[in-house]
Symmetry: C2
Subunit: 458 residues, 2 copies
């Protein structure tokens, strides 16, 4: 550990130089004009894997942006770890709100401001620097390390998802631990391991009534109003406690274990402060669960948008011809998206009133994931984080979804270990994105210590 | 009757000439540039009242467009009739869809095409020509005739409504019968008297949840979603039969009389054809009432528009910060708008869930009206229509609302007699508005016979 920390101290400037190099390439996946920047960024990462880490590395072409893949030699009797990250970034809009140039890394007050500083270049660059540290300060890897960086995470991970549909490709990526470097710490001095994510299923329900908007005076009371029909269906989706009313919906939901409930309870989350931050005077949800359990450990139903009839100034006395709602379910592991979809569709059908027809579109679905809290790689990572930060990490089941992580985990059948160093105020996806220098170097240190810990994990 | 019909036959061209003169003035109340056309139209009507009908007539200035008012002398022992109409018209947009110039009356196949041909210049011009016929073919009016034409009906009747707030003005307009010439016949050979209109009350309900759109993954299941709260409230407004669930809502609703139910049943309305026309496969509403009774004789609740969250292509995984609905009640006579408003507000308040606040805006309200079916003026007009058409008129309670008619009726305490000659296919408010020549001359004949009938009404 001494040698490792000493090496990092000596090479701080070199690490920053490397990180800043890749930050300067504007690899915005959402904007076609940046296509050549995507290649340039992929090549930069490939070269790093080859030159600095001695890996056999290459770009793997896809229908979209290439994947970067590299691996160190297999070590007999030792596990294999796959590091996942993404080299694409969010657009820099709105540019006018940036206080520093969005693609020129600028250090202010111990923080590096740049698009991608955290999400996700800062996170995986720190991991690569940690690997470099290990190789230079200790020696060759005690286990096989694979690195997979994709260039489409901000636009849905389409190419990587297709790539994973091939068994051959999954053999290439085969690993025991899936190390994901794209989440957050619990605070500047409080590390976290995200051991669970919810799944997400997105729908749009459109109800059709009359063939045109009708005069609500002439027809009111004699024709079913599609906006009322839609409201009745949405209203029937949850009870007054937020419990979803679709028959069979909870069939496969596993109860939270004692260990998990303890992990939720260990989070220094303050419900009063939370209410104040989001501006509500009362919380809501299943009374037998805490706020964090509701968010991270239980499924939920939300309407994301409603559209019907006249939406301008003043009024228009019509019965609208149609009404639509976008809605999502967040699911927890073990729930099968296709089963939930069939249950939801049947339930909605049963609620359609006379004179109304339905059109239900299912546009996206991915399951949730949860790693065993006592999994050996999670426990190994936990011990390293405690060494680096001086405190035990929080174990977090997060309410959000990273669909590609669930798919990687499922297809590779590996223990997902999500060790992130971001902070809530890093402004990912916003102007003035930043990554604290402390976050970056804590990540480098963690990474440098992780390989021995993983190799010896039991 | 012979003399009357003969006079009309002899003067057809003269009547058309007069009607076409006023049609050519583009009196679009919604468009400021037409301000001078409004005055010109008002002056045209005033001059007609003075010169052709020998009335004492004038323009009454208002904050908006002037009222046209004229009256014949009071006849001791005889009733007074007030004819109401409006001289403003709808905009001619979209001009490209007109097959003839919108402000040049053009006769095609027995129909006069022009903006305002029916609504409402054709209807009141025919009445004035009928009066002219009476004066020339029979003699002076056997009762006092008052004429009131407003220039803002298409933009909400604001000035006339304010005018009616003064008792002095109401004394000026005092009458026994309020004759309204702004509705429809039941068909080309089937006259109708509209003896009832519903009231209308318009609201907007906006529900506020968190102070910004929240990530539905991070927060879903722990925060009440305003779009779901809104749906729950709308869903609770009617039961599966369309019965409104607000406590006390039906307290003042009068049951339909036998006479009224007979009048509804006499309408040759075809539910199957109606369903086909509006494109629905099943009707809806209170099972103990017929379709026409639900529309014209019962209150109703309709959502006119819904807005919340993300409404674009694809999805956005948010809990929206707010959700809003525009909605209307149609009321029947005897229901008190302010009482209904208080009941609705209290009911909605009782349904607000934790973490949600409400903002309810009441933007417009007018009561419904119903005239006694056996009222003496209605019966007199009915007899005249039978003379002209050869069949008894239908008695119609219409589901729509003409707020100013209800106010005129209430403030003047007169028997409202709505005798209209429009047809459903006249395209009022649309391009290619027309009025059949037959409709126009049936209206002239009816008007010419009406004054004796009203004078002798018992």
């Amino acid at each position: 550990m001494e040698k490792v920390f000493h090496y990092i101290e000596e090479n701080k400037d070199a690490f920053l130089k490397e990180w800043f190099e890749v930050l300067r390439i504007p690899s915005v996946s959402a904007v076609k004009e940046h296509k050549s920047d995507m290649i340039k960024t992929g090549e930069w990462a490939r070269d790093f894997l080859q030159e600095k880490l001695g890996m056999s590395a290459r770009l793997i072409p896809t229908a979209g942006n290439p994947l970067v893949y590299g691996e160190s030699p297999k070590i007999p009797g030792a596990p294999t770890v796959l590091l996942y990250g993404h080299y694409d970034v969010q657009p820099e809009d709105p540019i006018s709100e940036w206080r520093t140039p969005p693609f020129e890394p600028t250090i202010l007050d111990g923080k590096v401001y740049c698009r991608g500083a955290n999400d996700d270049k800062g996170q995986w660059c720190a991991q690569l620097c940690g690997m470099q540290t290990y190789l230079n300060a200790i020696g060759s890897f005690p286990l096989q390390v694979k690195v997979l960086l994709e260039g489409e995470e901000e636009v849905g991970s389409g190419s990587l998802s297709s790539f994973l549909d091939s068994n051959e490709n999954c053999e290439l990526l085969a690993c025991d631990a899936l190390l994901v470097s794209d989440t957050s710490a619990a605070g500047p001095s409080l590390p976290a391991i995200t051991y669970g994510l919810r799944g997400v299923m997105s729908f749009e329900l459109k109800l059709h009534g009359p063939n045109r908007d009708l005069h609500s005076g002439v027809y009111g009371g004699s024709v079913y109003n599609p906006a009322i029909a839609l409201s009745k269906i949405i209203a029937a989706m949850i009870d007054e406690n937020g419990k979803i009313q679709i028959p069979g919906f909870y069939d496969d939901v596993e109860p939270l274990s004692e260990l998990e409930r303890k992990a939720f309870a260990a989070n220094p989350f303050d419900p009063e402060k939370n209410k104040e931050q989001i501006g509500i005077d009362a919380e809501f949800g299943e009374p037998e669960f805490t706020t964090l359990e509701r968010r991270g450990g239980r499924p939920s139903f939300d309407v994301n948008g409603l559209t019907s009839g006249y939406q301008g100034e003043g009024g228009k006395t019509i019965i609208p011809a149609w009404a639509s709602a976008k809605f999502t379910f967040r699911t927890v592991p073990n729930m099968e998206p296709l089963k939930i979809k069939a249950q939801a569709e049947a339930y909605i059908k049963s609620l359609i009133p006379p004179g109304i027809t339905m059109e239900l579109t299912y546009s996206q679905g991915s399951g949730g994931m949860v790693a065993p809290l006592d999994g050996k790689f999670i426990q190994a990572a936990s011990a390293v984080l405690e060494q680096v930060y001086g405190v035990k990490p929080l174990y977090v089941r997060d309410g959000g979804s990273i669909p590609i992580v669930a798919k990687l985990r499922d297809r590779l059948n590996a223990e997902a270990t999500l060790v992130g160093f971001g902070l809530d105020d890093d402004g990912i996806h916003s102007p003035n994105e930043k990554f604290n220098l402390d976050s970056f170097f804590n990540a480098v240190k963690t990474s440098a210590l992780l390989w021995d810990a993983f190799a010896n994990a039991k």
